[in-house]
Amino acid sequence: MISDDVLKKATVELLKNAVTALPEDINTALKKAYETEEDAIPKMQLKNILDNIELAQTGSLPMCQDTGIHIFYVTFGKDMVISVEDAIRNGLKEATKIIPLRPNAVHPLSRHNPGDNTGLKMPYINYRFSDKDYIEIAVMPKGAGSENMSALAMLTPSQGLSGIKEFALNTIVKAGGKPCPPTIIGMGIGGSADISMKLAKEALLRPINQRNDDSQIAELENELYSAINTLGIGPMGLGGKTTVLGVNIEYAYCHTASLPIAINIQCWAARRAVARIHPDGLIEHISHPKEVSP
């Protein structure tokens, strides 16, 4: 049986990994972007980004002061449904103090900040199920700069693929330098209004060097990646060749009368961490494989 203590420990470790070190696919893409840029200003932005990543890793400190709002994805294995809410909440409170994380969660109207990143329905936990014999927890501490550029459109079916492409381009142009480019575009196509946005965010959990299994969607990912990078918005919106590091799309079947499309943008500091908790209490860090704790 997996104890609350192990879950809490895993939560703290996941958050620490996420905010202090980027997954390898993101690091590789940022280094490539640095090589690609030629002009002084975009090159300097990427140099600052790479230097900062190094500082975060060596100092074991949050790379960005916006350590996000906390959305978890918990996947229960076979016969492994247990109560995780309190352990994750307590882990988040502890992580806020010791890492430290910035206390970001506030009441939406009074703007009161409890100071520990928790409040009504926050952290938010998505539950999923699998036939594995472990529990998987993923966290994506995502900043508000990129989140605030999210967009949803309920297209008509006749607008089709062209409508989707047009909407994606317009959303990126409108966002400009605000979401801390080079960004990663998460897109959700289909489902319903709420499902498409959920898919857009979930798309950001996938490494950017993995294309969608569906060949038509994979093709759209490639096409949008290459088209968006001709826009010239560049790192931090100061001009340059690298506007996006990747485009990840997920889709779902939708109502015959609808075509929902959602975009959730992720900043270059694309922090995400995934761990598996085995029945014997072993915490296996998938996204940050150097960290294994018994």
Partner: protein
């Protein structure tokens, strides 16, 4: 690129000399202010209430830092910029009212702020978003904090800087904006992007 060292309080002449693309580093006292601190400062001014710092000639940093308290001393952990456009509706009034000379942030600001910068002598300095530890290296101490009741990110932090940067002059006091330049280039490039996607 020119590399210019400036110390606060900033005077109008040296600010008006700066051109977009110049690289600047700042020393001296700088203040953080985001949405809530802008709103409160302007409200207090209107109501004739005391404002705890002198914004005239100041550098205002759009930043919600991570701070840690050790005993009675605040220690800065990370301090990158927040998205400046959230302050678009407040900044022209803030520059006019208080005479701030430099706004530090990321992502740029809108035309009314650029106009206010031209009228009153102020610049926008871009610092790399997300690079919060690099930025923190340029801050030597936390001198004070005001308005902590609005929460750690929103509070008015008084920081001592030494070679804080590199900062790029992205909006100058002659009415030039790197963001507007990039925007008009993007408008031109969007045709190419649409062609690539088979839209035109």
């Amino acid at each position: 690129m020119k590399d210019i060292k400036l110390t606060t309080p900033l005077d109008e002449d040296s600010i008006r000399e700066l051109k977009i693309g110049d690289v600047v580093s700042l020393s001296g006292t700088i203040f953080t202010a985001r949405d809530e601190a802008h709103i409160r400062a302007l409200e207090y001014k209107k109501e004739g209430k005391d404002i705890p710092v002198e914004f005239t000639g100041s550098a205002v940093f759009h930043c919600g830092p991570i701070m840690q308290k050790e005993g009675d001393t605040w220690h800065l952990v990370a301090a990158g910029p927040t998205t400046s456009s959230r302050m678009n509706s407040l900044e022209p009034e803030f520059i006019k009212t208080f005479g701030a000379r430099a706004i530090i942030g990321k992502g740029g600001m809108s035309r009314p702020t650029l106009d206010a910068m031209k009228s009153y002598g102020c610049v926008y300095l871009a610092i790399t978003g997300g690079a919060a530890l690099l930025a923190a290296k340029g801050i030597t101490s936390v001198k004070d904090v005001h308005w902590l009741d609005i929460g750690m990110p929103e509070a008015l932090w008084v920081l001592e800087a030494e070679g804080f940067g590199p900062l790029i002059v992205a909006m100058d006091s002659q009415g030039n904006s790197l963001y507007e330049n990039v925007e008009s280039e993007t408008k031109h490039n969007i045709k190419m992007a649409k062609q690539k996607l088979g839209l035109i």
